[in-house]
């Protein structure tokens, strides 16, 4: 049973998260400020920590920094601050994910699971090997079996969606315009392309992303094209 430390100064939020995570089969440790969280971590190890930013005493950012001094467990920051700068700050100091309040409970659970899978899989990455296996973070594509996994969850894609994703994953970090994708996948010259590609991309995102509005893998470069972010 995996242990998750939840730290927030709002007791009701901690309780709600407790209910959700316990329901998913996790053991939950509760802390109401940074010092308490550090004390608990000293006594017993946790597999993941969810921490609020704005807390009395030691705040989430400094707690994260403290934890990172001794441990590499996944840390998810939970904050009412939703601006880009706050997210960037949180991720830069060592957090693995960032969820802004108010959050969707299902999203939270999905993200917790995703983080845990990646963390525990670090040891057995070679589970799937072969020339035609492409990996990008939690995303794995096996071109032999035409299978796609996100955090060990198998994903069902249509052939076109699969081809587009494969093209992007093969060229991780490269930006493809709608016309380029069209020409590569349909093997036709794009004549005044329409929104077919964009619609397919949206479908792929809905399938592989936890929150399609804030994609982790398939990113839109507005006015230029699409790309798979290097993890």
């Amino acid at each position: 049973m995996q242990t998750i430390l939840v730290c927030d100064d709002d007791k009701q939020i901690v309780d709600a998260i407790d209910i959700y995570l316990t329901g998913e089969g996790f053991r939950v440790l509760k802390a109401y400020d940074g010092y308490e969280a550090l004390e608990i971590l000293e006594k017993q190890p946790a597999d993941l920590m969810i921490v609020d930013v704005m807390m009395p005493g030691l705040d989430g950012i400094r707690t994260t920094l403290k934890v990172r001094e001794t441990s590499s467990i996944p840390i998810i920051i939970l904050s009412a601050k939703s601006e880009d700068t706050d997210k960037i700050l949180g991720l830069n100091i060592g957090a693995d994910d960032y969820i802004s309040k108010p959050f969707n409970p299902l999203e939270l659970v999905a993200r917790v699971k995703s983080q845990l899978r990646r963390y525990t899989q670090l040891g057995n990455v070679n589970q799937q090997t072969g020339d035609k296996v492409y990996k990008c973070g939690g995303l794995t594509i096996n071109d032999d079996t035409k299978e796609v996994w996100v955090d060990d969850e198998p994903i069902r894609l249509t052939p076109i969606e699969y081809n587009i994703l494969l093209l992007l994953v093969k060229n991780t970090g490269k930006v493809f315009s709608i016309d380029e994708i069209y020409e590569q996948i349909w093997n036709e010259e794009a004549i005044g392309a329409d929104n077919t590609v964009a619609v397919h991309i949206r479908h792929i995102r809905e399938k592989i992303e936890i929150n399609p509005r804030e994609p982790r893998y398939l990113k839109v470069v507005w006015g230029v094209g699409y790309k798979i972010e290097k993890q």
Partner: protein, 767 residues
């Protein structure tokens, strides 16, 4: 304090000593100048400086010439007065006859007796004097006819009256001859003299006739004595070492040649050692003394002038301060009055002193001075008085200059300041009126003077006045023009400053240097307006920021309880309560809490965007590609409300400069807007066109509700197309979109035509 006081006193004492010394030196200089002036005689310049000896002087020259004349007279008269080398009283002097009477011969003795009887005799200087006046008809009656005169052998009687004379006249003539004879005889022959002379007339085979006081001396001996003069019958040349050749020598030699001598010569010499005690020796001694005194006086003048200058410069340097460090100003009561008054006072004092000098000083001088030198002494007194008074005034001015009071304490400045009162704090019209009246006055006065001088043009003075008047008028007119021009320049600068501030440069401060009077006041006011505007603007920006911060903080505080609400609503839902009413309530709760979430997020974004508190990452991107991407995102969403998205996009790229994420937010808001407010089962048109270097994206939809609202109002915060506000939406979408477009230098327009709602955004085409 103790250490300061002695210094202060010592400087004062030094100054007093310097003043005394100055007076002393002045006295020396005046004394020296007076001595030189009075003793030298005018006209000779300063050549006396180089005449070291008496022999070089004009006085010697005159005396020598005079003595030569005496010697020639002696030569003329000696032979008729002497026999055997001594004066013979029996010598026959002249013969006269009274009318037809017999010829009577008078001897010297008889003549002398007669002369004595008439009161004539020779004094101890051998001058003819008469100490009694006898009126004797016989004595002055010119009835004697002269037969001959021993002392005037070559007398030619050319006129009838010449031959008749009185006995008294003849006696006086004889006395005169005797006087001349004695002068030389006693001064040079009987008594030792420094003047040696030899006059020799010689005929072949006869004894030479010698007139001399030193017949034994040779030519060489005499010429080595010092000053000599030689002339002989062989030559017309006069050999002398005198400064000027003595006059009449050759003529006198010829005149006295009674013997028709074949050969004659004159040798006269002065022994410059002045061994004999005579007039020459006296004069030489006196001359030496005077010369020395003159040199001393010259030195005195030099020392006096140098001393005056030295003390004056010392006083000039130290005046105005109480101490050597020149920190404490030394101001006397005279320095407190106006500068101009000081000048006038000095002038008045000078005049008064001159008056006093005339009334008191002149009589005092007259007591001590010789009559000849009165005029000079009075002149010197006047000069000294003027000098003294002017010095007092000049030092007052100097003190003022050093302590900065010269201009500050001047009446001109006061008048100027008072005049500027007429111009400062007055309206422009008042100032213009004053200036114009002054101009008119000057002009009228000028033309008056010109007219009068033109009328009297034949007088040279009038012509001079005309020229000067013309010049002054041109100068005055130019001054008026210059003043007006400078004021206009200042006004131009003010206008420029106002234009800049009006143009939005509220931080602009005008340079007040070179501005005067009213313009300066206006410039200051403009600067304070600019400062006030800038201040207000910054206040506004600051308050906008504060508002944004407040909204952000409030939203954060709302979000935390909202999280619990959403979570617990979800938890209740999971309880699977079978009561349909509760399910319905839960749906409402879920919807509204979601709405609240969107509202708070939009609110934060709107306040951030409108206060400009967002980061921009401008990149080049293709608007066409972007619209395709956006269409892809929304097509299915539109389909849920049966909206058909019709795109009309060009096939080529339309590159623009924008921040992709912000532009996405704009487009997202516009598409969401269309999604929310478009009438179901209608088409939504999206098109991109380029014209004149601009790329325009337009989205059009038919509104479900009538749009009885102006486009401007739609972009106001919290304004929505549906007044009832029943639909989902914060009312901030268009406001955020507009603000973001403004931040990206784009154009944002809303057009409403009936129910047709149209939004147009434009960017500059990059290529």
């Amino acid at each position: 304090m103790k250490s300061i006081k002695p210094r202060y006193y010592s400087l004062q004492i030094k100054k007093n000593i310097a003043v005394l010394l100055h007076i002393l030196f002045l006295f020396l200089a005046v004394h020296g100048i007076s001595f030189i002036y009075l003793n030298m005689g005018t006209g000779a310049g300063i050549s006396w400086l180089f005449e070291h000896n008496y022999e070089d002087s004009d006085a010697f020259q005159a005396r020598f010439q005079e003595d030569l004349d005496h010697i020639f007279n002696y030569v003329s008269y000696r032979d008729c007065l002497e026999s055997e080398g001594v004066l013979d009283l029996t010598s026959q002097m002249f013969a006269v006859s009274n009318r037809d009477g017999p010829e009577i011969i008078y001897t010297l003795e008889e003549v002398l007796r007669y002369a004595k009887s008439q009161g004539y005799y020779l004094n101890d200087h051998f001058d003819v004097v008469n100490d009694m006046f006898l009126y004797d008809n016989a004595a002055i009656d010119r009835n004697l006819r002269i037969s001959w005169r021993a002392y005037m052998t070559d007398q030619k009687l050319s006129e009838p009256g010449d031959a008749y004379t009185s006995l008294l006249e003849l006696s006086k003539e004889v006395l005169y001859c005797l006087s001349e004879y004695y002068k030389v005889h006693y001064r040079m022959i009987v008594n030792p003299s420094n003047l040696y002379f030899q006059i020799v007339y010689q005929n072949q085979g006869m004894d030479p006739v010698i007139y001399s006081n030193c017949p034994e001396l040779s030519m060489e001996e005499m010429s080595s004595m010092g000053i000599f003069c030689r002339q002989s019958s062989d030559s017309i040349f006069i050999d002398t070492n005198l400064k000027e050749i003595p006059q009449n020598i050759t003529m006198a030699m010829e005149k006295n040649d009674f013997y028709s001598a074949e050969h004659y010569y004159l040798m006269a010499a002065v022994d410059t050692r002045y061994q004999a005690d005579d007039d020459y020796a006296d004069a030489a001694r006196e001359y030496e003394l005077l010369h020395r005194r003159l040199l001393e006086s010259a030195a005195t003048v030099l020392v006096g002038i140098l001393g005056c200058l030295a003390t004056l410069s010392y006083l000039a340097v130290t005046s105005g301060f109480r101490d050597a460090e020149r920190t404490k100003p030394n101001i006397h009561s005279i320095d407190m009055i106006y500068t101009e008054s000081c000048v006038v006072l000095t002038a008045v004092c000078t005049l008064f002193m001159l008056f006093l000098g005339e009334k008191i000083g002149y009589p005092l001088l007259h007591l001590f001075m010789a009559y000849d030198s009165w005029a000079f002494a009075e002149r010197m007194l006047r000069a000294v008085l003027i000098y003294g008074c002017c010095m007092v005034g000049a030092f007052s001015l100097l003190r003022r200059y050093k302590t900065g009071l010269l201009w500050k304490g001047s009446m001109t400045r006061h008048i100027r300041e008072n005049i500027s009162l007429y111009f400062e704090d007055r309206t422009f019209s008042h100032r213009l009126l004053c200036g114009y009246l002054a101009f008119l006055g000057v002009q009228a006065a000028g033309f008056g003077i010109l007219g009068v001088s033109l009328y009297f043009l034949r007088f040279p003075a009038a012509r001079a006045v005309l020229l000067v008047g013309l010049f002054l008028m041109i100068a005055a007119d130019y001054l008026v023009y210059h003043k007006l021009f400078m004021e206009s320049v200042q006004e131009d600068r003010i206008a420029d400053a106002i234009a800049r501030i009006a143009g939005g440069d509220t931080a602009y401060q005008m340079d007040t240097a070179g501005l005067t009077g009213k313009e300066l006041a206006i410039a200051r006011m403009i600067n304070s307006i600019g400062t006030g505007l800038e201040h207000a603007l910054q206040e506004q920006v600051k308050s906008e920021r504060l508002k944004a911060d407040l909204i952000t903080n409030v939203s954060h505080d709302i979000k935390t309880p909202l999280t619990s609400i959403i979570n617990y609503v979800d938890l209740i839902k999971r309880e699977q309560i079978q009561n349909p009413k509760i399910q319905e309530y839960l749906t409402v709760l879920e919807q509204k809490s979601q709405r609240l979430k969107n509202l708070t997020e939009d609110l934060v974004e709107a306040s951030k965007v409108s206060s400009g508190n967002v980061k921009l990452e401008m990149t080049q991107l293709d608007l066409v590609e972007m619209i395709w991407q956006t269409n892809g995102e929304f097509e299915e969403k539109f389909a849920t409300r049966n909206l058909e998205l019709v795109s009309s996009l060009p096939s080529e790229c339309m590159m623009i400069q924008a921040d992709g994420r912000h532009l996405w937010r704009v487009l997202e808001n516009l598409y969401n807007n269309a999604f929310k407010y478009a009438m179901a089962h209608t088409r939504v048109y999206a098109e991109v066109v380029s014209e004149d270097g601009q790329v325009w994206f337009t989205i059009k939809n038919v509104s479900e509700n009538p749009l009885n609202i102006s486009p401007d109002e739609l972009t106001e915060r919290f304004v929505r197309g549906d007044v009832s506000r029943t639909t989902e939406g914060s009312g901030l979408g268009l406001s955020i979109a507009q603000s973001l477009m403004k931040l990206q230098d784009g154009t944002f327009r809303i057009l409403i035509d009936g129910d047709l709602f149209k939004v147009k955004i434009g960017f500059k085409l990059v290529r």
